[in-house]
């Protein structure tokens, strides 16, 4: 078994009097897609923000390629090869596509001691990466605000893929997407995974998770309910785990088992 790219051990996170995470462990290996599932408020977003350096854990350890690390800021995590597509996208509508694409990691060209943004390169890369994702842009200096929701989602993923050398985190990338856009995102996950990147995929949709996942971890009320490997678990079992079991059963009955 390959060594995990990223390992989180007994992570706790408190916000004032709210305990969002009460000891969660998790790992991701190269080339696998590890799905993080769970109810609303289970702590999924909080957990991945901890991986991404946005939150500092109250307790617990983070290991990158076996070495214990402390992320002081999202930059640290990025520098360690962890790229994240947040649930709320982290795009700035007033700025151009190129500027958004490169935000925080702008390419520079040196003129003696001075360093200027390298626009030709930035634009070219942006156009190319978006094209790879299946979107032909009219112009890279178009404002992100003028794009459709699906297009914005794609910019966010393209950016993460381009920079996300080793671990790619996707927080509910499909929840607001249509059927075609969803297929596209799932196909992209598959493609990226085959390149050896570890993908962490968060979803409420068991079917989406089963379509691409290699391992499945279910969070509940800030704790792990356990991790399952692909093939070992059925859609129904997963669904039950996520929802907590008994109550769902009766509803399923009255609705014809189609949830």
């Amino acid at each position: 078994m390959t060594e995990p790219l990223l390992e989180l051990i007994d992570i706790e996170k408190h916000f004032g009097h709210v305990i969002a995470l009460a000891g969660v462990s998790f790992s991701i290996r190269p080339g696998e897609c590890h799905c993080l599932l769970g109810d609303n408020g289970a702590g999924k977003s909080t957990f991945i923000k901890t991986m991404a350096g946005v939150h500092k854990p109250t307790a617990g350890k983070i290991r990158v390629c076996g070495k214990e690390t402390n992320f002081q800021s999202p930059r640290d995590a990025m520098d360690a090869g962890i790229a994240t597509v947040y649930q709320d996208l982290a795009m700035i509508p007033l700025m151009s596509i190129t500027r958004n694409f490169w935000m925080g990691r702008e390419p520079v060209r040196k003129f003696g001691p001075l360093r200027f943004l390298d626009f030709p390169k930035a634009n070219a890369v942006t156009m190319e990466e978006m094209r790879k994702m299946g979107i032909n842009l009219r112009a890279p200096d178009q404002a992100v605000g003028t794009l459709s929701g699906g297009e914005r989602q794609t910019v966010a993923i393209a950016r993460a893929v381009y920079f996300g050398a080793r671990v790619l985190i996707l927080d509910e990338p499909t929840s607001a997407l249509g059927v075609r856009q969803t297929s596209n995102v799932l196909a992209t996950i598959d493609k990226v995974r085959k390149q050896g990147v570890g993908v962490i995929f968060i979803s409420h949709n068991v079917r989406h998770a089963l379509a691409v996942g290699d391992r499945f971890t279910v969070l509940n009320r800030g704790k792990t309910l356990g991790t399952a490997v692909r093939g070992e678990i059925s859609a129904e079992e997963l669904q039950d785990m996520m929802a907590g079991g008994q109550e769902l059963a009766e509803l399923e009955g009255s609705l014809g088992g189609t949830v």
Binding site: A52, V54, S73, P74, R75, M78, T84, Y86, D88, L89, A90, M91, I92, P93, L94, M95, R99, W102, M103, G104, R105, E106, V108, R115, F116, L117, M127, R131, K132, G134, I135, N136, L137, R138, A143, G145, T146, L147, R180, N184
Partner: protein, 376 residues
């Protein structure tokens, strides 16, 4: 631009979009409103005050200097506003820095260059404090800097009165004689050129008084140079550097930006410091030129800076704007203010004009911005 791998063909989209003319597309830039405004304002004054001396060399210098003053504080206010914050303490900071310079040099007898250095250090420190409070407490910068508007003005009056029994401290000009740093703020350049021009009869010479025989314009005041330098550097910083991208990002959405690895807090604090720096440049030029500092200098200048920036097309809530626009805004402001004097308009009406221009400019700019950014 390649035809391969196009799963979501872009061209299909067009069926749901009406056409925009290419000319319109080429013109819509953040500075468009301010550029158009500048042209209108100049045409207007050419018509109504063309023969009043407004466009003679001294006239040009006059509104040039006034516009330069506005431009200096507008650059700081512009970058800060794009970074999503406000500084209402600019005016008080101008008064405060001026008094510090005069106090240290005249009252306490240190060299002027040292006094200027002290003023910059103190002012930038206060700017950093402003910024620190804003990012640390998460309070709106309106409130924090409003508090400093009062605190700094109060301190300025208090310090001036308690050390010298006056709210005005003179004698800086004498103290600054021969000081190299002071000349950087209060001197003039191209003196040779202008005396040559005067010798050629291209500009007038003084005919009476102690300056008889010297050209009426003996150089370009350093304040204009400062304004140009700050505008150019600000523009390059904003549009051509990585840091400039961070300024936009910090103002556009600070959570998104910091999640993407932009050091938002650092950017904001630095912009507060820049704003304080610009206020101090303004104050230093004024103190060195006029030789005195007074506690009432800079009153309401914060609004004038904000107005210039907003006329220049920046978005009050951050994330959008241009330094060139702000500079044009300052130019419009300066030309209108001085032009109304040249045109002989009742001076109380100046405020009415200013208010109306502000409204019109902002409505125009909003329209342009919506076209560019697809905002709704």
């Amino acid at each position: 631009m390649n035809e391969a791998g196009n799963q979501l063909p872009q061209t299909q989209k067009d069926e749901r979009l009406r056409e925009i003319s290419p000319l319109k597309k080429a013109l819509i830039r953040p500075e468009l409103g301010a550029s158009a405004g500048t042209i209108v304002v100049f045409l207007f004054f050419l018509l109504v005050a063309g023969d009043s001396g407004m466009f003679a060399p001294e006239g040009v210098l006059n509104w040039g200097v006034v516009s330069a003053q506005f431009a200096i504080i507008a650059v700081g206010a512009c970058l800060l506003m794009i970074a999503g914050e406000f500084d209402l303490s600019v005016g008080s900071m101008i008064g405060f820095s001026g008094i510090v310079i005069a106090l240290v040099s005249v009252t306490w007898g240190y060299p002027v260059w040292f006094a200027i250095l002290v003023a910059f250090v103190v002012a930038i420190g206060i700017g950093a404090l402003n910024g620190y409070l804003v990012i640390k407490t998460g309070l709106p910068s309106f409130i924090v800097t409003l508090a400093f508007l009062y605190i700094l003005r109060g301190l300025t009056i208090f310090v001036a009165i308690s050390t010298t029994q006056q709210t005005i401290i003179g004698g800086v000009r004498e103290a600054a004689q021969g000081d190299p740093i002071a000349a950087l703020f209060g001197g003039k350049i191209f003196r040779g050129l202008f005396s040559w021009l005067a010798d050629q009869g291209l500009i007038d010479k003084f005919v009476a008084g102690p300056k008889a025989g010297q050209p009426v314009i003996d150089g370009i005041p350093m304040i204009i140079v400062w304004a140009l330098v700050l505008v150019v550097l600000g523009h390059i910083l904003l549009t051509r550097t990585r840091f400039g991208n961070w300024i936009f990002a910090a103002g556009g959405d600070n959570v998104a930006a910091s999640n993407s690895g932009v050091p938002v807090k650092r950017v904001k604090v630095l912009m507060f410091m820049l704003s304080a720096f610009c206020a101090t440049v303004f104050a230093t030029c004024q103190v060195i030129e006029f030789g005195s500092a007074a506690a009432d200098r800079g009153l309401l200048k914060e609004f004038e800076a904000i107005i210039s920036v907003v006329i220049g097309g920046a978005l009050l809530t951050g994330g959008y704007g241009s330094v060139i626009g702000a500079a044009l805004g300052a130019l419009i402001f300066g030309v209108v203010q001085q032009g109304l004097f040249f045109a002989g308009v009742e001076s109380s009406l100046f405020r009415v004009f200013l208010g109306v221009i502000l409204l019109l400019a902002v409505i125009l700019n909003t329209y342009i911005r919506r076209m560019i950014t697809g905002e709704r």
